[in-house]
């Protein structure tokens, strides 16, 4: 014991005795600092991400059909996994809820919809068609306003074509298009519109509208779910605009993030982006190429606004812009271009004018809460089906407002989801089989096509004209009856008794995740539910593996640092030992046993490692505490999601501290082993006889 105390005393005395010790110490200090800070950051990101993933859509764990080819990937809406449907959600809910740690089981299915917007003139013509159609007829004032708007658009196209005609080569334009435009802008055409609106509309739709090639389509990812159950289970969800879908109704809530990105007037959205960068991120237009690009886009892309305005609104807009810019220009397009030509000095005042005065003249959002949205999706059978869904409002997750990942999916009621999923019912299979049977044809495989189809002789037949009865082909009646489902209210039983692609499971005690998953899997197996249980990390797909990847990078970097440290420490201790050959020889001569020498070198190195390791850990801990106080800002939307908010406030990880201690101990022991053994072989006579 006294030996050990003596060794400790010597070790502490020798810590700063040589420059080599200082080098070794600094390496250990940097390594432990890195280990503690990195480990704490990764642990904090892990916790942040788990909050984001569990709290937004995945739940603590998920169940899905075990027979599926893929497994759920709730954030990978760009590639929908191939999952087999759970035919009846109500049959799995009860058994899963029987586990005491399960608080909610929420049916879910993810899909991507396509929202097609015709070109700008198509959209107004569609409104005009509805306004003059029986059943949806609008007052004369509305019809007249829409007519004026269309006429204004025709005039804009005419002006544009005139301009392009001047600079483009002759023959660039179909002369017929010029004639059609002339007709569509004439007083005679509009004078006779009311007497035969549908023929006039057909002319505008087929001869004029195609001249504006600005049609647009939006890809909208959504989660089909029992909306009430979802809102109860995911308490970070909050309604931003509009209202929650009433219980039992078909409807949709758009993610606020997507709503701003996809449905807002592009010029306005760009203004918002510049405003946010200037006010929240302290950027400057003059210094930021991205902001300059947004300004340039706004300057050039004024057509979206010009086409939106009817003659009256155009006049108002010209007047506002003339006043703001102190200009006498009358061309709205030129005025808008000048208005959007902003810099750091005038941006905020223009931003205010836009929202205070101009915004009321344009449609800021092409879809408002309460309106109907037609969305299409590829069904399970490969065809494209469409449904009309009422948009009740927008939602976001508290703390994840600006995360594109958390806001990447909108929410849809389960009934509409099932319609778009296109579950092939037994009735539909029977109908297809009957049609195939009537047609009486057999499938010819691709490989055999030429041999099978052209193996005979020339086959030309003369047909006999056969009258085709349209009514009979339409199923006995000339018309197909359609039922409006948007007003129907479904019972909870109807919602639950049907297809779901999977279900999110929320736990009362998330720390019991692994044990609960085991029990749930046992329930599924026992009741032959055919389900597989996976945790939130796996359910998040590649995103869930992000933290694992970060950990691997951290541990690999730490490993490299300590391997280098091990080699350097080893060499340094060898050198230090060689410098002390006379001292060791003397010790051995006055009776110190080999074990004492071995212990001395080992203890000195380990003490050195522990002292500098502790110093590194202390510095690392201090740095983490500092970061915890100030927070690390999320520089982009991905970090916003990983941090589960606008800033990451990392906590000190006990695991990292313990890990650092163990690594330092191992590295120093291993690196000192060889020099220590070498020191025990020093012969006292030779050592004392040698020169300094």
């Amino acid at each position: 014991m006294s030996w050990f105390l003596l060794l400790l005393q010597t070790s502490f005395r020798n810590i700063f005795s040589s420059f080599l010790n200082l080098v070794i110490g600094l390496i250990i200090l940097v390594g432990t600092f890195f280990f503690v800070v990195g480990g704490s950051l990764v642990d904090s990101i892990d916790k942040g991400m788990s909050r984001s993933i569990i709290g937004s859509v995945a739940g603590n764990c998920q169940v899905y059909e075990a027979s599926s080819q893929d497994s759920p990937a709730v954030f990978e809406s760009w590639q929908i996994p191939d999952l087999d449907p759970i035919p009846d959600f109500s049959k799995i809910k009860g058994p899963l809820m029987s586990d005491p740690n399960v608080s909610a089981v929420v049916p879910e299915g993810i899909n991507t919809a396509i929202v097609v917007y015709g070109n700008t003139i198509d959209q107004v013509l569609e409104k005009l068609r509805k306004a003059v159609s029986p059943g949806t007829r609008q007052p004369k004032a509305v019809v007249d306003s829409l007519k004026a708007h269309v006429r204004q658009m025709v005039s804009v196209i005419q002006t544009d074509m005139g301009k392009v005609n001047q600079i483009a080569a002759s023959g660039s334009f179909d002369p017929q298009a010029g004639e059609d435009l002339k007709k569509a802008s004439s007083n005679e055409f509009w004078g006779s519109f009311d007497s035969d609106p549908f023929n006039h509309l057909e002319f505008l739709e087929n001869k004029i509208a195609y001249l504006i090639p600005d049609s647009d389509q939006i890809f909208l990812s959504y989660v089909g779910t029992d909306l009430d159950a979802y809102q109860r289970a995911f308490d970070r969800m909050e309604i931003v605009d509009g209202q929650m879908v009433p219980p039992g109704h078909r409807g949709m809530l758009l993610s606020k993030y997507d709503y701003e990105e996809m449905f807002k007037l592009k010029s306005a959205h760009r203004l918002d982006q510049i405003h946010e960068a200037l006010t929240e991120k302290n950027k400057k237009i003059a210094k930021d190429p991205d902001l300059q690009d947004l300004v340039k886009q706004n300057k050039l892309q004024t057509r979206e606004i010009v086409l939106q305005l009817d003659p009256l609104s155009s006049q108002k807009a010209v007047s506002i812009l003339q006043g703001t810019l102190n200009s006498k220009e009358t061309d709205l397009s030129k005025l808008l271009s000048a208005f959007f030509d902003t810099d750091d000095s005038n941006f905020e005042s223009r931003y205010k004018v836009f929202y205070d005065q101009l915004a009321s003249l344009v449609e800021l959002y092409r879809l408002k809460p309460g309106e109907m949205l037609t969305i299409k999706a590829y069904t399970k059978s490969g065809s494209v089906d469409a449904v009309n869904v009422k948009i009740y409002g927008t939602f976001q997750f508290k703390g994840l407002e600006k995360s594109g990942l958390a806001g990447s999916e909108s929410l849809m009621d389960l009934m509409s989801f099932r319609d778009l999923y296109g579950y092939v019912t037994p009735d539909k299979i029977a109908e297809t089989k009957a049609l195939e049977k009537t047609a009486g044809v057999s499938f010819v495989s691709r490989d055999q096509a030429e041999a099978d189809l052209f193996g005979g002789s020339s086959d030309v037949e003369q047909s006999q004209q056969k009258a085709i009865n349209d009514k009979a082909e339409m199923g006995g009646g000339a018309k197909v009856k359609r039922v409006d489902l948007t007003q129907r209210v479904y019972t909870q039983d109807e919602i639950e008794k049907g297809v779901a692609m999977g279900a999110a499971i929320l736990l009362k005690d998330p720390s019991q995740l692994k044990a609960t998953m085991k029990r749930l899997q046992a329930i599924c197996d026992k009741d032959n539910l055919g389900l597989k249980v996976i945790d939130w990390q796996k359910a998040a797909g590649n995103l869930g593996q992000f933290v694992l990847a970060l950990k691997i990078i951290l541990y690999f970097a730490t490993f490299i640092i300590f391997v280098v440290a091990l080699v350097i420490i080893n060499n340094a201790v060898v050198m230090a030992t060689l410098q002390r050959v006379r001292e060791i020889g003397t010790m051995r001569a006055i009776g110190a046993p080999k074990s004492f020498v071995l212990g001395m070198v080992l203890t000195e190195t380990v003490v050195l490692g522990l002292v500098f390791g502790a110093l590194g850990s202390a510095l690392g801990s201090g740095f983490v505490m500092l970061l915890n106080h100030s927070g690390i800002p999320a520089a982009n939307e991905f970090l916003y999601f990983f941090f589960s908010g606008p800033r990451l406030y990392p906590g000190l990880s006990l695991g990292s501290l313990i890990g650092a201690f163990i690594v330092v101990l191992i590295v120093t022991c291993v690196s000192a082993l060889y020099p220590a053994t070498m020191a025990t072989k020093v012969s006292p006579i030779e050592a004392m006889a040698s020169d300094e």
Partner: protein, 294 residues
């Protein structure tokens, strides 16, 4: 070579006694006069010998344009056209889709309408082509949408051109590839490239035209990049006499379409019956198609 020449210039319609098909610009009377009269030798010298040269060097451009015009002319109805069509889509790892539709055409005005009648879930859906616009209507949502010529009709591998009249001579420049065998048929293999400034579903098309009948039997559609998109076979052709056209209207009885991108997907189109009676004047409008569902 004798068979080639005979088939090229004298295709006797065996199932319609007394009717001789006008082919490659030679009227039946000229062909029969030449073959039956004293001027046969002259005919051989003037026509068949250049024909032999053609076979050796390939078809001249004029001759290929004539072949394409012949196809266009045969498919054109001259008046109104209504057909009952069956579509069957086979998909890899997915259930089959079977549909029935009514196809209406008014070729003079370049108008086309496809109205789906079966299955129940698709009844009332339809396409309307007016000029260069192709519209799609879904009564479930009561909306019209613009579609392109590449639209997969009813979610199958077929597109608008498979149901419409054709304008191959007007849209494409032909190039002779060679004389080939397709199963038991001797065919001309032509390569068509779209003319500048014309919008078509596929800018490059390869055609295999039956030398005996002048009908195309095989077609391959390529993207501008040269990637093969689909292969279709039209092995059986039917014809129906049109009083307005004063000639036969030809239509493929069945079209087998194979998707070359999603291998394993294919479509079978069967034109079950054709009716050339006059159609209502106002039917090629959005309003008419909308009235088919309520």
């Amino acid at each position: 070579m004798k068979t080639f020449q005979t088939k090229m210039f004298h295709h006797q319609d065996t199932k319609t006694p007394g009717k001789t098909i006008k082919f490659l610009g030679f009227s039946p009377s000229l062909v029969s006069w030449c073959l039956g009269g004293k001027s046969c030798l002259m005919f051989l010298v003037l026509v068949l010998l250049p024909g032999l040269a053609l076979a050796a060097e390939g078809l001249s451009k004029d001759k290929m344009v004539e072949i394409l015009k012949g196809i266009d002319l045969r498919i054109r109805s001259g008046g109104d056209y209504k057909a009952l069509v069956y579509l069957e889509q086979h998909q890899k790892d997915k259930p089959d889709i079977a549909q029935e539709a009514l196809v209406y055409r008014r070729d003079v005005d370049q108008k086309l309408m496809i109205l789906f009648t079966k299955p129940k879930t698709d009844a009332g859906k339809g396409y309307l082509r007016v000029d260069r616009n192709l519209w799609y209507y879904d009564p479930t949502v009561g909306k019209w949408e613009r579609r392109t010529d590449r639209e997969r009709i009813g979610g199958t591998d077929s597109n608008r051109e498979d149901f419409d009249q054709s304008d191959l001579a007007g849209q494409y420049d032909p190039q002779f590839v060679g004389e080939e065998k397709l199963g038991n048929f001797t065919v001309w293999h032509l390569k068509l490239t779209v003319k500048p400034g014309i919008d078509v579903a596929y800018p490059l098309v390869e055609f295999w035209v039956d030398e005996a009948t002048g009908n195309y039997l095989k077609r391959q559609d390529f993207a501008l990049s040269g990637r093969l998109m689909r292969t279709s076979y039209d092995p059986k052709w039917d014809k129906l006499f049109s009083d307005i056209k004063k000639d036969y209207l030809w239509f493929p009885h069945e079209i087998h379409i194979y998707d070359e991108i999603d291998k394993g997907n294919s479509t079978l189109v069967i034109i079950q019956s054709v009716d050339l009676s006059s159609l209502p004047e106002n039917m090629f409008t959005k309003a008419w198609l909308e009235t088919k569902s309520r």
